[in-house]
């Protein structure tokens, strides 16, 4: 790491950047007092939004100046980031970056750039968005740093393997792949051992070499603790959705989930979710619902349709329909009990084996069943996501089972999390309208 880069980083980020973003947060917080979403029937944005914005802005602002100051890693969303954090890496999550581009309607240009390079339209739209950025340097956040290390964990899909191999070709840096065997019911001891060995024998040596440091147990435990604390808080926030009316919706969750994904293991993330929990509890106490006059409560399965978030939220709110929970946002909370600080690498191996996408479709059905009961839901929307096959497989029988067992309507909605061309406006609108009529809220 170079001294000159560190000085530049300290001055621009730590001195000027932080102060400016803190000031901007203060202004945003004032603006938020009178802010409204697209619909009058949606509760105003959470006050914490100003902090969320500061965190995300600071994260990407750091990225502009971090090269040379800190080692940079690109990581899949289900990657064992705690090890990298403990080694002082600055971490970029290409999936998160792609989602952010989608939410800001900046993704299509990037997707098309990737396609111009020859990547097929049938590849996941996150991959195409990210490769668009990697190949052209264009991004809605100004600039992404080049990685020194790539870490792909196959616990979310097999696509990441090929995606990161392409990134390796583009950036010519080491790639570590953590292979996580599929878990149908329980992970057998040899699977845990297998993943643990990969962390110890593959990831740590390479990550140490690239960073020029050795992993200190004390630091690692500290990061794991922050990770566990933030994950537990996130889970507690999501479980607040069991209240009637629900104080937060999945739309709030989609907005405020960025820190739990890309800043897991940082102390500030724990502080942030602690504050968020406090605000959500306050809403419960005051009886403020995410939707005015909540009449029906609906579950969302799969990734969000990032570029249509606000419209969908408004459309449902206008009919008194809230969406208290989704399997997707829950995925970043439900593993909290598995994180065991004392058992170090073994606990990490277990945690990274158990994400919902690395388990059978029966497990997801069970998660949804439990949600319908615990969150007192009246219907289910399953987003059949053209870009996320592992998440979408099994949705037809899952849908039919939920309808049969609970006698509630369930809608399979075809769309795509980031590619707008796979979203058919009129057809989605008519399906949602029919679904709402079925629930007698139209």
């Amino acid at each position: 790491m170079k001294l000159i880069d560190t000085i530049k980083y300290r001055l621009t980020v730590d001195v000027a950047g932080r102060a400016f973003l803190r000031y901007e947060r203060f202004l945003n917080a004032r603006r938020l007092k009178n802010a409204r979403f697209k619909s009058e029937n949606l509760a105003p944005p959470l006050r914490i939004s100003a902090w969320t914005k500061e965190l995300i802005s600071l994260h990407y602002f750091r990225g502009r100046y971090v090269e040379g100051h800190q080692p940079v890693a690109y990581v899949t969303s289900g990657g064992p980031v705690e090890i990298l954090k403990a080694l002082g890496y600055y971490v970029i999550y290409p999936e998160n970056h792609a989602a952010l581009a989608g939410a800001r309607h900046a993704q299509m240009e990037l997707i098309q750039s990737a396609e111009e390079f020859g990547f097929s339209q049938d590849i996941c739209s996150y991959v195409r968005t990210d490769l668009g950025t990697a190949l052209t340097g264009k991004t809605p956040v100004g600039k992404l740093p080049k990685p020194d290390l790539l870490l792909a964990c196959t616990n979310i899909c097999q696509t990441v393997l090929h995606w990161y191999r392409v990134l390796q070709k583009i950036f010519n840096v080491p790639l570590v792949v953590i292979d996580t065997p599929f878990v149908y019911t329980e992970a057998p001891p040899h699977a845990v051992e297998y993943v643990k060995k990969q962390l110890e024998n593959e990831l740590i040596p390479v990550a140490e070499r690239v960073a020029g440091r050795t992993l200190k147990e004390k630091k690692f435990k500290e990061v794991v603790k922050y990770s566990k604390d933030a994950t537990e808080l996130w889970l507690e926030i999501l479980n607040m959705g069991r209240h009637i009316p629900t104080p937060i919706s999945i739309f709030d969750q989609f907005i405020h989930m960025a820190p739990i994904v890309e800043m897991r293991g940082d102390k500030v993330t724990v502080d942030f979710y602690y504050a968020m929990l406090k605000e959500v509890k306050e809403r419960v106490k005051k009886g403020i619902g995410s939707v005015k006059n909540e009449k029906k409560r609906v579950l969302w399965d799969n990734l969000p349709v990032w570029y249509k978030l606000s419209r969908l939220a408004a459309e449902l709110a206008d009919r008194g329909v809230s969406m208290p929970i989704s399997t997707y946002t829950y995925a970043w909370g439900e593993l909290a009990p598995l994180i065991d600080i004392e058992r170090g690498m073994e606990s990490m191996a277990r945690v990274y084996l158990y994400p919902i996408l690395n388990r059978g479709t029966g497990h997801k059905l069970e998660v949804m069943r439990q949600m319908v009961k615990d969150f007192k839901l009246d219907g289910v929307i399953l987003h059949s996501d053209r870009s996320c096959k592992p998440y979408s497989i099994g949705q037809v029988p899952q849908r039919n089972k939920l309808m049969e067992e609970f006698g509630i309507p369930a809608l399979l909605l075809e769309a795509d999390h980031n590619d707008e061309r796979a979203f058919s406006e009129e057809q989605v609108a008519s399906r949602i309208a029919s679904f709402l009529e079925m629930m007698e809220v139209a």
Partner: protein
Amino acid sequence: MSRVKAIGIDVGSTTAKIVAVDENGEMIWRYIEPTDPRIEDQVDRFLEKLKEELSISDEELKKIPIVATGYGRKLVHQAKKKLTEITCHAKGVYKSLGHGGTLVDIGGQDSKVIVISNDGKVVDFTMNDKCAAGTGRFLENTAMRMKVPLDKMGELALSAPEEVKISSVCTVFAESEIISMIAHGVAVEPILKGLHRGLISRIVAMIRSVGLTPPLMLSGGVVKNPAVRKMLEEATGQKVILPEYPQFMGAYGAALIALESTKSEN
């Protein structure tokens, strides 16, 4: 006093329909035309026609509740309520046939399968995915390409002793596939039969995704095609039941919902 107690208007992608019902919900008047791009003018014309043919005054018409459905429903400003085709079709068919079951409606631009309960409620539904495969447009396009009159298509398909396989379900690509078959000297009838088979296989897949609750009912403009009916029966092993006016089920259901709204208000 006019006998008309409620009106339903269904502005579909291909045709627009209007239905008037009496106080018992009986269909006493109906009219259909190809959908005009100027939907508002067309609806005005429809209502003029209704007034003229049933001798209804402006004053009377104002008091009659209207419900609109179909893709163009948002442009029917006279409607007090706008509902989707799913709800309206289920309502219309249930009243016409007097029982629930699985309704297949093949329209111009979309096809849907609706499961209707024994008390007439929508229990489940599915619609064709984003493209025009499995819709009336699929047949219409190819009929045009092959210069076969649309109303003769079904008969011709059924007259074919054999059929060819059309592998593309995409309306546009199926058309190129057909052109190449014609160029290779394949006769029109087997192509038509293969085309119908393709459409039916899409519909059957949709039926399977929601599960077939007998009896199987069919509505929509494509019902006029005898091959669709026959091949659907062959593919599902179920007898297909048709309402008396299969093209008007959306508009009829809309009128019935309008009628119910007056009753609940009273």
